[in-house]
Amino acid sequence: MSNKKDNKNSYLQMFRQMVRIRAFEEQANQLYLSAKMPGLTHMYVGQEAVAVGICEALTPNDKITSTHRGHGHCVAKGADFKQMFCELLGKKEGYCRGKGGSMHIADQANGNLGANAIVGGSAGIATGAALTAKRLGKKEVSVCFFGDGALGQGLLYETMNMAALWKLPIIYACENNLYGEYTKVEEMAAGDLKARAKGFGIESFEVDGQDVLAVNNLTQELVERARKGDGPFFMLLNTYRYHGHHVGDINREYYRSKEEEQLWRDERDPIKNLSMLLIDKKISTSEELKSIELEIEKDAEEAVDYALNAAWPEASEVNMHVFAAN
């Protein structure tokens, strides 16, 4: 393919975006552990190559819908740390003025139509965005991110059926991180996962979700085809979440072992593996990568400080935005 992202800048951009997600999540986890964040949140750590590999193949006008584990998608689609942390803390300067929080972050300017706290709940929204693109001839593509847990939801199959009937420009991106909440995927999803989409006549692909370059190459190809009207597509991305279902899910040996977690961290880490590749192929140096990491960690720390000191919404906000103005 002619437009594959194979130059140094795009490799480093993918590295940078994955590191940004991880830095963001480490700070979010600390905010929870230090009781500075209201409520709970769901960590994306471990799955960075999925969001980055896909979003680096999109333009800001392309739309995504995200999940309750949505910080990674939001960062990867171009969001700003300060506005994100403000949203997580319920501050007025957050992306949703503090009214959405972690599970509803939306960044319309960058094409992120929002995280969704209902598992599989955004399948309709993403498919509807693809319908708009087709109807208005906008050449935009939608990506619907969802986890393996959403494979249990009927809405997904209803919307995939319509997307196939109407040839909509949408990619259904199933992030199989092996667990739906506290239960193994094998206990919840019968049969061949890809075959579910194939049943609708949707071309389906499986890719190593820890390999950002593989994810990005496949997505570029599918996005290009979807823009030409060849969609929809289904991607099964095999990945792993390092943390529990949410930040409070600490003791999880009853559903998975520490050895399993360590194996993924040691051998399948998407950031570590890309670093090694970049150094090995002399695209970058360990010093350069380290300095990128330090710079991003500093950005994240500053953004957290900013958000902690940012203003709360005024009480008068509480009944604003129930209805849009006419």
Partner: protein, 327 residues
């Protein structure tokens, strides 16, 4: 003035708006060539084509969700839910997604969509094709709910709904589709949140919605024969609700009955009666009365079904009792 049916009025409203705004599409089961089972949308697909009048599979949550996404990104979908009873299938997409998107995004995203559906018993359709579930929807912040009571109302409220930038659910009484009323040929809109005083009166206020407006008017006429002057008010939309007009009427008449075809428990009659108690208690000469659908699943047998819905006779009798101080 010309008279057209309720169904034709809905059809005209949608056609006129679709001619004005290319972003309006219609989505639903059998909306295109079939024109819906009630034939309300007949002719639309011939004029606007299958790109804009889209037959969907029998997948209510799926196509409602698709409409939400389409609305967020620049279209103005009109979703057709064939029977109001099927609302239970789409509760997540309607109440968790469409209703909350504007608020949850801090006002950045909006969902300009209309969801047409119907209500009304006594069509011998039994418990899953006869319910009137509007109060369920009106309970959710972020949704507007319109309840047209005639062909004139149906056209004006539909046009307003289509131009609204929020999710609006319109409940059409399926027994009223063939009822005719005067509908001007010139364009008009009916504002949401503005109740209509159909029949001014001084002795008792009859607040009625949708199918019950006709019954209240019949009752007002029979009451007039007994020199009782009843004021009939149609709220038109229950969200937003024109509380002022209702309260002012009760302050004048000091007596009120609220009539609605939804179940009486926790329904529209309960809400409006509570507001009257809050805002006009010291003006009342008798307790506020409620007439809603009986709190049973709608039965099939005609002799049973007819017992479940308030009638003009019941309204008349209750008004007489209220005014005689027998309650």
């Amino acid at each position: 003035m010309r008279e057209i049916t309720f169904g034709a009025a809905v059809n005209e409203a949608i056609s006129e708006e679709m001619r004005l705004d290319n972003s309006i599409i219609v989505l639903g089961e059998d909306v295109a060539e079939a024109g819906t089972p009630f034939k309300v949308l007949s002719g639309l697909v011939e004029e606007f084509g299958t790109d804009r009048v889209v037959d969907t599979p029998i997948s209510e949550p799926g196509f409602t969700g698709i409409a939400v996404g389409a609305a967020i990104t620049g279209l103005r979908p009109i979703v057709d839910i064939m029977f109001g009873d099927f609302l239970f299938l789409i509760m997540d997409q309607l109440c968790n997604q469409a209703a909350k998107t504007h608020y949850m995004s801090g006002g950045k995203l909006s969902v300009p969509m209309v969801l047409r559906t119907n209500m009304g018993a006594t069509r011998r359709s039994a418990a899953q094709h006869s319910q009137s579930l509007h109060s369920l929807v009106a309970h959710i912040p972020g949704l507007k709910v319109a309840m047209p009571s005639s062909a004139y109302e149906a056209k004006g409220l539909m046009k307003t709904a289509i131009r609204d930038n929020n999710p609006v659910v319109i409940f059409e009484d399926k027994l009223m589709y063939n009822d005719k009323a005067e509908v001007p040929e010139e364009e008009y809109l009916i504002n949401f949140g503005e109740a209509n005083i159909l029949h001014p009166g001084t002795d008792i206020t009859l607040i009625a919605t949708s199918s019950m407006v006709q019954q209240a008017e019949i009752a007002a006429n029979t009451l007039a024969d007994q020199n009782i002057s009843a004021e009939v008010i149609d709220p038109r939309t229950i969200s937003p609700l024109d509380e002022n007009t209702l309260i002012n009427s009760v302050k004048k008449t000091s007596h009120a009955i609220v009539i609605d075809e939804g179940h009486q428990n926790f329904g529209v009659t309960a809400e409006i009666a509570a507001r009257i108690s809050e805002k006009a208690f010291y003006y009342l000469d008798a307790p506020v009365q409620r007439l809603g659908a009986m709190d049973v699943p709608v039965p099939f047998s005609p002799v049973l079904e007819d017992l479940t819905v308030p009638t003009a006779q019941q309204i008349h009798d209750r008004a007489v009792m209220v005014l005689k101080g027998e309650i």
